[in-house]
């Protein structure tokens, strides 16, 4: 791993280079509402808002689109003809994504790759270089430090930028893909300097987030598995509407539905669409029987999947502590606060003076 320095002017130049070479650049960027940013393809560096507000949605849609075509079919005289979709994708760079968002992509590689390899996911993964930007901590809903991560985490990134002296970023080159990007644009990167400033940025951000939820969420797995019938699960989700906003904004929620849609009387598409375990119909059997018939059971599933099932299966929490679910919930379901309650029961760190 090596380190370089990248000034803001050189970063703008790098983006211009990439765009002129035909690479798609996705970054947190302005949208019509000035209070909001969104991860979207940018046409120039001016559109990017690297130090702006946290985009309400993570960039997972650039790997797992909210809706995507799996195949096309057409009725012919002697049967059905199928048309495959491409699993190769044009090059893209995701720039300035938060470490929590970037970690999610690497976590999801596990479920997308176990046994059966999802070529649609990995096609986009392979075409993408991720340049993340260390975060200064957003607000009281952040809890990345509680899930074993941090505002300067490297997981999932090919290059991590850390704000340093003045207008410069310290660029940590983490993977061969990151190295290739630096080599292809070597004139944009200078000799490393400003390590002290970057270090104090990281420390300040970590301190800020760590006080939000001082627990170790990696230690909840056993308690969750052993307390399936705990009374907690009978009351926690009484407020939940089952709207699934939490899953839509979550960088690690990846559940999907597969549906057919007509495109004419003799042809149509099969699509994969985002879905959520919080929806009542998610698990309904053909007979009408529903193994998760209440919202409390569905909420338990969401918490267990993230903090017990996924870690047991894949060795990683299915949560990066971004806090989006808590910010997005119209009913005030607050996952970090709930994790605090569970941690107390599980003896995995006791929140002092409340978690908010």
């Amino acid at each position: 791993m090596s380190t370089r320095i990248l000034t803001k002017a050189d970063l703008a130049g790098l983006v211009a280079d990439l765009l002129s070479a035909g690479t798609r650049v996705v970054a947190p960027a302005r949208v019509d509402n000035p209070q909001v940013a969104a991860y979207r393809p940018i046409a120039s560096f001016d559109e990017a808002r690297l130090d702006g507000p946290l985009p309400p949605r993570s960039p997972k849609e650039f790997f797992l689109p909210p809706t995507e075509v799996l195949l096309r079919w057409q009725k012919k005289k002697d049967g059905i003809e199928l048309q495959e979709v491409a699993t190769e994708h044009p090059k893209q760079v995701i720039l300035g994504a938060r470490p929590c968002d970037v970690a999610a992509v690497e976590i999801l590689d596990k479920v997308m790759g176990w046994d059966y390899r999802d070529e649609l996911w990995f096609g986009r993964r392979e075409a993408t270089t991720i340049v993340s930007l260390a975060c200064r901590g957003v607000d009281k809903s952040c809890f990345c430090t509680a899930v074993g991560s941090g505002p300067d985490a490297q997981k999932g990134a090919d290059i991590l930028l850390v704000p340093s002296d003045g207008d410069a970023y310290l660029a940590q080159i983490l993977t061969p893909k990151g190295q290739a990007l630096v080599e292809a644009h070597a004139q944009r990167f200078g000799e490393a300097s400003g390590a002290e400033a970057a270090k104090s940025f990281r420390e300040a951000a970590t301190r800020k987030v760590a006080s939000n939820l001082p627990i170790e969420a990696t230690k909840l797995s056993g308690w969750l598995a052993d307390n399936y019938e705990h009374e907690l699960w009978k009351r926690l989700a009484m407020r939940c509407h089952g709207c699934g906003a939490c899953a839509a904004v979550c960088p690690t929620c990846h559940c999907f539905d597969i549906v057919d849609e007509p495109e004419g009387i003799d042809r149509g598409v099969r699509r994969r669409n985002w879905d959520t375990c919080q929806a009542g119909k998610f698990t309904v059997h053909a007979s009408g029987h529903n193994p998760r018939g209440t919202q409390n059971e569905r909420f338990r599933q969401r918490v267990l999947h993230k903090f017990s099932i996924y870690p047991k299966r894949f060795g990683e929490l299915l949560c990066t502590g971004c806090g989006r679910c808590a910010r997005a919930c119209p009913a005030g379901m607050d996952l970090p606060e709930i994790l605090g309650q569970i941690a107390k029961l599980a003896g995995a760190g006791v929140p002092t003076g409340g978690t908010k």
């Binding site: 598995a225 057919d260 879905d275």
Partner: protein, 276 residues
């Protein structure tokens, strides 16, 4: 070819088992796929009616019968409704085989009891034929099958065949009020008929499938009869979309039914959270 791209299959035969249940015999359109396709008893697939979507059923035919597969399904929604409208010569999509299998190999030298209710006979039938096609390899074979009424019994032609075999003990049952005037079988619920049939349990295997409540009430009967919970198997049919362990739908606690199942021993079932 991406994971979600189905094989195309031609419907060779279509049989109405009951007013709402249909069986298809299917062959692969691509001869190369037909040649290389292999599966084990208990595995399932995703069947598609193009334009409506996919539905999950077990493969109901035995792996000992090469060159085709069969599936049986009950019309219950959009996809099964569209599939039911298809007939001989029509094309459907198939992805699979997915999931684990019944331990047919381990049954060699042992008695085997098959217990099914309603359309639950479909996955069990796969194992029944798998065993009957190598009849000399196992001990006694007992089949207990029940349905709500005579009209709801599936695979009637095969039930007749099994009834005539001297190397199979068949117990057929319908629920009270479900019998026809000429009904010669049992009247009662499956768990009670299993208790009455009282098959020999020493070192025996049992395969059970049916509505969740039937499975739930049959397992204690088998336990009472002395069956080892490690040799009693059932197959679960949770709602699925991908069948590949990705779409996040079919899990029961830590277990993915599509990958760790659909076949589970009674012992494994007991260890799962009660979310069935």
């Amino acid at each position: 070819m991406n994971l979600y791209q189905p094989y195309l299959m031609r419907i060779e035969e279509a049989v109405d088992e009951t007013p709402d249940t249909r069986t298809f015999k299917l062959v692969f359109q691509d001869p190369k796929v037909a040649e290389s396709f292999d599966f084990q008893a208990g595995q399932f697939g995703e069947y598609s009616a193009f334009g409506e979507g996919e539905s999950t059923f077990c493969i109901a035919s035995s792996p000992t019968r090469k060159g085709y597969i069969e599936c049986s399904f009950k019309e219950a929604g959009k996809v099964t409704g569209a599939l039911r409208k298809l007939g001989v010569g029509d094309t459907i999509g198939f992805r699979g085989p997915y999931g684990n299998r019944f331990p047919v190999g381990q049954m060699e030298g042992h008695d085997v009891v098959f217990i099914a209710g309603g359309i639950g006979l479909a996955p069990v039938r796969c194992a029944i034929w798998n065993v009957l096609d190598q009849r000399e390899k196992v001990g006694d074979v007992t089949i207990v099958y029940g349905a709500r009424s005579v009209g709801d019994l599936v695979y009637k032609r095969e039930l007749e065949g099994w009834a005539k075999r001297s190397d199979v003990k068949l117990w057929q049952a319908v629920e009270p009020g479900g019998e026809a005037p000429d009904w010669k079988g049992e009247i009662g619920l499956v768990p009670a008929i299993v208790e009455k049939a009282a098959p020999r349990s020493a070192d025996a295997f049992a395969v059970v499938c049916g509505p969740p409540i039937m499975i739930k009430l049959t397992l204690p009967v088998l336990e009472k009869l002395g069956f080892s919970e490690e040799r009693v198997f059932t197959t679960l049919e949770n709602r699925m979309k991908c069948g590949l362990g990705k779409c996040g739908r079919c899990n029961i606690g830590p277990v993915y039914v599509c990958k760790d199942g659909p076949v589970f021993s009674a012992k494994e079932l007991k260890a799962l959270p009660q979310e069935l």
